[in-house]
């Protein structure tokens, strides 16, 4: 088994967070599930916390990204400025490739 899963995404890639609600220890916040964003940076690969939480090894390690979301993508009634963003760390197995902006 390889030590780490290969990276699928690069800086600037458009991604969508899986809209899934598994039970257990998950480090993908509810408010970004199903939302679209852009890869801000690649952080490296880390043992999967969903496995670590149950005393397993978390291998192979999962690539971790920082994903930038427009606030208006996350909250349709966002009251701040259109340029405001949230950046969240998300593991690769929670991300799907998203086509170019229509």
């Amino acid at each position: 088994m390889p030590d780490a899963v290969a990276h699928r995404f690069q800086i600037g890639d458009r991604v969508k967070v899986r809209e899934a609600y598994p039970i257990g220890h998950v480090r993908t916040p509810y408010y970004v599930r199903g939302k679209r964003g852009v890869i801000e940076r690649v952080c490296g690969a880390f043992p999967n916390p969903e496995e670590l939480a149950y005393a397993r090894e978390g291998r192979p390690a999962q690539p971790l990204y920082r994903v930038r979301f427009l606030q208006r993508e996350l909250w349709t009634d966002y009251a701040g400025q259109p340029v405001d963003v949230v950046e969240v760390e998300i593991y690769q197995h929670w991300l799907e490739a998203e086509g170019p902006q229509p």
Binding site: R27, P29, R66, I90
Partner: protein
């Protein structure tokens, strides 16, 4: 019983002892005590090791982060290395951050950064010390990603509409430090003088650096 002893006794009752806040033996508290005592009994660690770690943790404070920020204000090349790799930049000036993966973000005339951990309370303790209670509150954690401008205003930090708010949710393995904007009127200041303007809250992003 002498008169003096009567007096002392009455005096004590005017200020009844307040119960300790940690006097309830919860499940996890009992487990921590059991594991710690076992490790000490078996010679894996000593009670002094535990005490020393607690002392070290309590001794960490925002002065470490402030030193990095002041250096970055003075040395553009250092700032660029810090933005590229925060952990290495901390080690470069002798700050041991352990396995911490540090991401440093910079406030500018067009972007204001602020840090939150919506899932728990991840915080760069190695550089800022123990987190303030409000950082761990549900109020801060849930609202900072939802209405950051309103929350910042409650801290007394009003961000102009033409400055973008960039909220960093510390959900996984990274920890964050904000480099606030350098206050005006600090030309020719030394690193130590500048560091005194860099508060804990300004490095979380809920405040600006102190003005001169």
């Amino acid at each position: 019983m002498s008169h003096d002893q009567d007096h002392d006794h009455a005096h004590v009752h005017r200020f009844p002892p307040r119960p300790d806040q940690d006097d309830t033996l919860t499940y996890y508290r009992a487990m921590e005590t059991a594991v710690r005592e076992l490790l000490i009994d078996k010679g894996v660690i000593t009670a002094d090791d535990v005490r020393r770690q607690v002392e070290d943790m309590d001794g960490r404070n925002a002065g470490r982060g402030a030193k990095m920020v002041a250096r970055a204000w003075l040395d553009l090349a250092y700032k660029q290395r810090m933005l590229a790799n925060g952990s290495k930049a901390a080690e470069e000036i002798g700050l041991d951050v352990g396995p911490l993966k540090l991401v440093v973000v910079e406030n500018t005339s067009s972007v204001h950064n602020v840090i939150v951990c919506t899932l728990c309370s991840c915080y760069p303790r190695m550089l800022l010390g123990l987190p303030p209670d409000w950082y761990k509150s549900r109020n801060y954690r849930s609202r900072m990603v939802r209405e950051p401008r309103a929350v910042l205003a409650e801290f007394g930090t009003v961000i102009p509409p033409d400055v973008a708010i960039r909220v960093h949710d510390s959900t996984a393995d990274m920890r964050y430090l904000v480099v606030p904007k350098r206050p005006t009127g600090t030309e020719n200041w030394s690193e130590a003088e500048l560091a005194r303007l860099v508060t804990r809250d300004s490095m979380i992003g809920v405040a600006l650096a102190n003005e001169v």
